[in-house]
């Protein structure tokens, strides 16, 4: 049975229980993963699974159940469990309906590599060995590496007539290397294996490992201007943009409630959420609820222009769904076990007009930050103090030396009003397309 057949069978099975509405999400995944963790610790993993998630609605009571599909009887069991969950669930006064069917049209390029999953293990290892061999020649140790290829296909169907299927491929590459101390990290994301430029990855890995090894400490507390590289800037934006998440607005967790059309950032900042970005990891013609995706501006020249919603939060707030109801994130695993919720699709931060050297030349005293230990900001307040793993000290417009293990202190909502430069070369980092950016007036604390 293919994914559409399973969804259809599940909805048919539910009829005898008379739910008001029902939704089936079926996903089929094949994955190949090569991992390397040093001599004696390498291996290859092949995974495949087929999962189903059922959301059922009875008198505004919602239940969800999911499981793996081995045999047809598994589908019935999942449907029954979902109905059982709905029957015991309290009424949700804000629930209006599952999404109605909408005309879905258009096409997206570069999201499916039909040959990728059939690549032989040997070919995948051979490609990855390019990095391993280069490292050996340069006397650098690869401490950890991973090449992950995923092909997935899903269908979302509901009793109102939504029926949407989607097929895509994802590639994720991650390598860490060490010269003498510290580590350099590279990550690459793509929808096609052939697009991976192993030579560029190697150059970057070598540069970062070498710099980590030569990094020095900085003493005392300083006020600095910093340039943040796209690799971790994407993590910061991911935290920042939760403030525009419809669910955060609905649940009153966001500082941007009632701030539409107000200035929230520097005029140079424009952020677009684009569910149909060519080559985007999250791209599809519809989201995981079957609502058509679209391109929308979230922040336009510093002004908050829109929130992003799944169907439920959009209707609960009397807004229009934006095609941002996702169970998937960039890691497809366990997508069927989750209920679709408001999330970003692919995000583009519009690039500026400065190349990297200009961004550096204009700094009197500051840092170029390659990597934080964890670029995640969990505080509701937006306050952060992030440990810097790899960076360069900049004095009078020149790079002086690598610096590591210092803390960068600031507030994410505050620094977005202190942008002093945006690079002109955007990069893909996970589901973000963004350039390096420069911020002023941050606090740096060293030993």
């Amino acid at each position: 049975m293919d994914v559409e057949d399973i969804s259809q069978y599940a909805i048919k099975q539910s009829e005898s229980y008379w739910p008001d509405q029902i939704e089936a999400f079926t996903i089929k995944v094949k994955m190949k993963k090569f991992y390397y963790e040093g001599e004696g610790l390498s291996g290859f993993i092949n995974n495949e699974w087929r999962g189903l998630g059922i959301k059922s609605v009875i008198d505004k009571r919602i239940g969800y159940s999911s499981g793996m599909i081995n045999k047809i009887s598994d589908i019935k069991k999942i449907v029954e469990k979902s109905i059982k969950m709905a029957r015991v669930s309290p009424k949700d006064k804000d629930f209006e309906s599952l999404p109605p069917p909408t005309q879905i049209s258009g096409s997206i390029t570069d999201i499916f590599d039909k040959n990728m999953i059939y690549l032989d293990e040997e070919e995948i290892i051979k490609e990855a060995s390019f990095l391993l061999n280069k490292a050996k020649e340069a006397d650098i140790k690869i401490t950890c590496g991973q090449v992950k290829l995923i092909q997935f296909e899903f269908n979302v169907m509901n009793s109102l007539g939504v029926n949407f299927s989607h097929k895509a491929t994802n590639v994720f590459i991650f390598f860490q290397a060490m010269k003498e101390r510290g580590e350099g990290i590279v990550k690459a994301y793509s929808t096609t294996f052939r697009n991976i430029n192993w030579d560029v990855l190697w150059q970057e890995l070598y540069r970062r490992a070498k710099n980590a090894s030569e990094a020095e400490r900085i003493k005392g507390s300083h006020t600095v201007e910093v340039i943040i590289d796209p690799i971790d800037l994407s993590g910061l934006f991911s935290s920042y943009l939760r403030a525009a998440n419809g669910e955060f607005i609905y649940q009153k967790r966001s500082p941007w409630i009632n701030k539409l059309n107000e200035k929230v950032a520097s005029e140079s900042l424009t952020i677009i959420d684009d569910g149909r970005m060519p080559g985007g990891l999250m791209s599809a013609l519809a989201d995981d609820e079957g609502v058509p995706t679209k391109k929308k501006i979230i922040i336009n020249r510093g002004i908050l222009e829109s929130y992003y919603f799944d169907y439920y939060t959009a209707r609960a707030l009397d807004g229009e769904p934006t095609g941002n109801g996702f169970r998937r994130d960039t890691d497809i695993e366990d997508a069927h076990t989750k209920i679709a919720r408001s999330n970003l699709s692919n995000v583009e931060i519009l690039h500026g007009n400065k190349d990297k050297s200009e961004l550096i030349e204009e700094i009197d005293f500051g840092l170029y930050i390659d990597k934080f230990s964890k670029p995640i900001i969990r505080n509701i307040s937006g306050d952060f103090s992030l440990e810097i793993r790899n960076s360069f000290l900049i004095k009078n417009g020149e790079i002086i030396n690598p610096i590591s293990h210092v803390l960068l202190v600031g507030n994410i909502y505050d620094i977005m009003n202190k942008i002093t430069g945006i690079g002109k070369e955007p990069e893909m980092q996970c589901n973000f397309k963004l350039p390096a950016m420069r911020f002023e007036n941050l606090k740096l604390i060293g030993l």
Binding site: Y35, E37, G38, E39, G40, L41, S42, G43, F44, I45, N46, N47, W49, R50, I62, Y64, S66, G67, M68, N70, K71, K81, K84, M85, V88, S89, P90, D92, E121, E122, I125, K141, T143, F174, M178, R181, E183, A215, S221, Q251, R253, E333, I339, K374, R378, N379, I380, S381, D383, S385, L386, E387, S404, H405, L407, V409, K443, I445, G446, L447
Partner: protein, 459 residues
């Protein structure tokens, strides 16, 4: 589950070693936010993983399809990839030092969550959420999450072992968001154990949920923390993060073998103050990281990693134990059947000392008390550590003074460990989820006493 022994028999004739593990995970989660049930979700996950080893390299294949055709196909993939890798890399010979075990084990709990009606669970979680939300009008958001996980594993290997084990874990998590004069702050509580529904009915949950809202409101008026290299009194959550991310990860033998651990060639070397003893123990009753077996069928153990400041032992799985000529320590764990078995911690903590918290505070002239670790990470290769705490207090002339909002603690691992000069007799283990590499989350506990050390503070 049928076919496991047949699969082992089929695979073993073509490889040096193999094991086959069937896993079934049954989960129920409930989310209540601002008084409304946002999610009631039931999830089953099941599948089989086949691991085949040829000349020291592993081929894995996992599948959610459990009929003979798909299982045999998966076995063939595992065999094929192990052989191909063996051709590609020159590996050291691995001799699996697993004991032959046949039997069944489980972790006993007081109230099996499956025996409690789902309506009661919804009522209980909603009641906890109400305590959080109704605490004050300043609480603009309160969320409460409940999760139960019941899992079964059956493992068979080419040495003849056939083991079945069962685990039950229950967790409760909640956060409250306070808002006043345009400022927002939050706090949280978390209880995670290898326990049944008794975790929810415990009377202290009511107090914890109330305190969460109280803390969120209190933090609205917290001050900016000081910055610099400062004396820190770390609470059990922070000393637990220190034990877990600095010592724990660096003592995982796969990290050592891949040249990442700062502990390479350091066995027997003093890496911390004599007051520091770090233990990993997968046998502690009720702790979140406790396991009947690891995912390779090895019994868990109590491993003293650091003994009074001296690095004593590494944590091992079957592969690393062979490569390092050590005994397996029962630390071969994977998130589920689709993930690789890595060397992972179980319950890792710094052992308690003799002093009271009051004595530590009284003997501190200037410093900060750091409370409620939010996250933690270490760079074993760069030898650094970082954790964030939700809040803290200034310590001035032996007394607690100003309340501080969230800040980070950082520094060189060995410098922090060597600076530990006081350890309390209070002790706590805290359930957490630990990821390694890219994901692969397993349940663990972190913990320890209050300890005093020098760290870099920034916030």
């Amino acid at each position: 589950m049928n076919y496991l022994e047949e699969l082992v028999e089929y695979t073993s004739s073509q490889v040096d070693f193999c094991d086959v593990r069937y896993e079934f995970i049954d989960e129920l989660s409930v989310r209540v936010e601002n008084g409304l049930v946002g999610e009631i979700r039931s999830t089953n996950k099941s599948g089989v993983v086949i691991r085949a080893m040829v000349n020291g390299t592993w081929g894995y294949a996992s599948t959610s399809y459990t009929d003979w055709y798909h299982l045999k196909e998966a076995a063939n993939k595992a065999i094929k990839t192990a052989k191909k890798l063996a051709n590609f890399f020159s590996h050291k010979k691995i001799e699996i030092k697993s004991r032959l075990i046949k039997g069944r084990l489980g972790i006993p709990v007081k109230i099996n969550p499956k025996s409690v009606d789902i309506r009661s669970k919804i009522e209980d979680i909603t009641a906890i959420n109400k305590i959080q939300k109704d605490f004050s009008p300043k609480i603009i958001n309160a969320a409460t999450f409940y999760k139960e996980q019941v899992s079964t594993n059956i493992l068979s290997n080419s040495l003849g072992s056939l083991i079945e084990w069962h685990e039950i874990r229950t967790s409760l998590f909640g956060y409250s968001v306070a808002r006043s004069n345009g400022k927002m702050q939050n706090s949280f509580f978390s209880e995670r154990k290898t326990a049944g529904y008794e975790l929810v009915t415990n009377r202290k949950i009511e107090e914890m949920s109330m305190n969460t809202s109280k803390e969120a409101i209190m933090l609205l008026n917290a001050r900016k923390p000081p910055s610099g290299y400062i004396t820190v009194i770390a609470d059990p959550s922070v000393s637990g993060v220190l034990a877990h991310v600095t010592i724990g990860h660096a003592s995982e033998a796969d990290e050592v073998l891949s040249n990442r651990g700062f502990t390479i060639n350091m066995l027997g070397v003093k890496i911390g103050s004599l007051k520091v003893t770090v233990v990993d123990d997968g046998t502690i009753k009720g702790a979140y990281g406790t396991i009947p077996f690891d995912n390779e069928g090895t019994f868990p153990a109590r491993t003293v990693i650091v003994d009074h400041g001296y690095l004593n032992k590494f944590l091992q799985n079957l592969t690393t134990a062979s490569l390092m000529n050590q005994k397996p320590t029962g630390n071969g764990r994977a998130q589920d059947f689709s993930k690789k078995v890595l060397v992972r911690m179980t319950n890792t903590f710094i052992q308690k000392g003799q002093q009271s918290l009051e004595e530590i505070i009284e003997s501190t002239n200037n410093g900060v008390l750091a409370l409620k670790a939010i996250s933690g990470t270490a760079d074993p290769a760069g030898k650094s550590f970082e954790t964030k705490v939700l809040y803290g207090y200034v310590i001035n002339n032996g007394q607690i003074s100003n309340l501080l909002r969230s800040f980070s603690l950082s520094g060189k691992i060995t410098e922090i460990l060597r600076s530990v000069d006081m350890i309390s007799k209070d002790f706590k283990l805290i359930g957490r989820s630990c990821g390694k590499g890219l994901g692969n989350f397993v349940p663990v506990s972190i913990g320890g006493p209050y300890l005093r050390a020098k760290m870099l503070v920034g916030g």
